[in-house]
Symmetry: C2
Subunit: 401 residues, 2 copies
């Protein structure tokens, strides 16, 4: 008998029909002789509706109260899903975050899970129940309700799977797995049957948007096998684990991120400590820097270029403008660009990958502004208008059959 944790997002339970559909999916896995814990999000637009209610009363609503408000959304979903399973004759019991034993830190609106006290979940499983748990929420040490922030329900599911040593954590979404590139943008993509945690982390952070990184990081830490699959169609998805089956594919996927800002500080003095000054000032303002490039010094000056998410552009520029005088910089430039990346655990030992990528871009007359590499990925920055075309030609180069 295996223990399987399943997670269904808000669109999967947005109305009665969908809730009943999810119940059928859960029942199938239960009927196969498995113990099942199901994590659900708030229905469809519930969270947005609740936020609108709060805004009408207090646009600067206290985060503690926001958590009390928003956590009611999943409380509704869990009750409805339990009712749906019971209407089909299955024993089900719903548990809120605090009933399920989620202990978090006290950062309202964006809490971290400290631990899951699994006694209640395990008792209910031992009684033969399908356990339905409210995702996205927990309780802090003051007995106050907290929420986990973006990707919270995925993280809830992985945390339960880790704490209960589940055999598999299935994340049901509106896509049916992880593809070699976003199928809505690129033709000829292929679904991967397996992928490693690290590859998935790179793809997620590069804009593949299948799973939130927090949940993948936690799955990697506790070695929980994840499966991403469709909540609508019954077919296998993509399994994410420590070591993936070798599939004769060096490259697992091509990803594109359009929300990248490139900032250059031009003509700063070429003396030690300059980079430290810039990047510690950015860190102090909680700006996450992605790629960093420093030109080779000439005439005693150099250029320092880095990228941040578009959402942090203003914060980053404010820091850099503030340092301009101290650095005696000649100028600052800032541009919105696109990052296209290829990801694959095997590429570090194969120099042909970079060459193949650059060749494809060159043949399409796409200019590369910057290049960054890691053990499992190669990223290039290009003009935003070339983004989609770049993704397609690179995918074609690696995956054309």
């Amino acid at each position: 008998m295996s223990l399987i944790v399943q997670k269904f997002g808000g669109s999967s339970v947005r109305d009665a029909q969908r809730v009943l559909n999810v119940a059928r999916r859960v029942a199938t896995v239960f009927d196969q002789g498995n113990k099942v814990v199901v994590v659900v999000s708030a229905q469809g637009d519930t969270t947005d509706d609740l936020i609108a209610k709060a805004m009408e009363i207090n646009p600067k609503a206290n985060k503690r109260e926001m958590d009390v408000l928003l956590s009611s959304g999943e409380q509704i979903s869990i009750a409805l899903l339990a009712m749906a399973l019971e209407s089909m004759g299955y024993p089900a019991k719903s548990l809120t975050g605090w009933q399920a034993g989620f202990v978090t830190d006290s950062t309202h609106g964006n809490s971290r899970i400290r631990r899951v006290e699994t006694e209640r979940i395990e008792n209910e499983l031992d009684k033969g129940n399908i356990v339905i748990v409210a995702g996205f929420q927990g309780l802090n040490r003051y007995d106050d309700i907290t929420t986990l922030g973006r990707g919270g329900s995925d993280t809830s599911a992985v945390a339960i799977a880790a704490a209960c040593r589940a055999d598999l954590c299935q994340i049901y979404t509106d896509v049916d797995g992880v593809y070699t590139a976003d199928p809505r943008l690129v033709s000829g993509t292929r679904k991967l049957s397996e992928i490693t945690y690290d590859e998935m982390l790179e793809l997620a952070s590069l804009g593949a948007q299948v799973l939130h990184n927090r949940s993948v990081e936690m799955a990697k830490k506790y070695n929980v096998p994840l499966e991403v699959l469709s909540s609508l169609e019954e077919k296998p998805g993509t399994v994410i684990k420590e070591v993936a089956k070798v599939e004769k594919m060096l490259i697992k996927g091509v990803a594109k991120d359009d929300e990248v800002t490139r900032i250059s500080i031009i003509g700063v003095q070429d003396i030690p400590g300059i980079a430290f000054q810039i990047f510690s000032a950015l860190a102090a303002k909680k700006v996450n820097v992605d790629i960093i490039l420093q030109s080779v010094g000439r005439n005693e000056t150099k250029d320092i270029t880095f990228t941040v998410a578009d959402s942090q552009r203003e914060d980053a520029l404010a820091v850099v403008e503030g340092l301009k005088g101290t650095l005696r910089a000649k100028g600052i430039s800032c541009e919105g660009v696109t990052k296209v990346s290829v990801v694959g655990a095997g590429m570090e030992s194969n120099y042909g990958v970079a060459a193949k990528m650059f060749e494809a871009l060159s043949e399409a007359s796409i200019n590369i502004q910057m290049i960054a590499t890691s053990e499992i990925k190669i990223s290039v920055l290009i003009d935003r208008e070339d983004g989609l075309r770049a993704m397609r030609v690179v995918h074609e180069a690696f995956f054309a059959t």
Copy 2:
């Protein structure tokens, strides 16, 4: 410094404007130097909307899951009211039923409060917070969410007032106090400034519909002064307490209940144990019997008549039909009637009250079918079509100026 518990119903918080209005009422009492605990119900139609969601999925939904579902309604209200108070600069903290320490029995959908563990509420009050508590809900010994059933939020407020030894428990409603009769039906009614618990209990059970009996019974048990007042207008309401000021009024009010079914079992044998058979069978089916009348036996048979609420008519008839053979009854009759009652703690020592009531009905040519009296009330059963007129003439007889 006094401690005041205030309770606001669902219509008082049905939209953002009303929530802000309630916040202003709470703030006024807080500004007068009082500690304040506020109990709120779910907004407007929220409970009905949630019930509809459940019905769509499972018309016979499990009561435990129904409680999980419905309790989310008050969780939304408490967060919104806390946000409203904070937007006005007041320190407020919301607590769900389980956070506020409500321990109930395990009857899902209609739980009884066992106790309120007031530590959390008192800590928050000591920190200077206005405490906002979700009414209608608690937690049983299995850590499952329960709801209190009809009138639950009133009962929650009284329970907190009792446990925290509050100086006053204010119940804000859509009427501004207790009247000598329902002002929507009778002209010339007067608002009472004070009334005893017992008088209020009789008026409530007779259809005055201002407060639910459970809350008044609890207030009486723990001697909590209650005040019923308007959530919309700022003026004093009616105070309900052990001994009310004497107001030269023998009679405190006239009430009417149209949902009464009179059932007669005709011509049963006049032997001992007949009444026991009938009423124990009714009790076994949880039928609440109100008035009972047994005719004097003649020709070795007698008639037994009793009343029940219309909602229990079918259950009561089923019991009686089942007994018909055993009782060798000649027939069963059943009719919907109206009960009109006068209530007042002083009437037991004043026989003039009954005479005055019967005289008024007689002058209006209204036939009395049955009469029942207690220490503080006289009730008559009459044809339903005479109900409103009867209430008016009786009220006129006692309260005409």
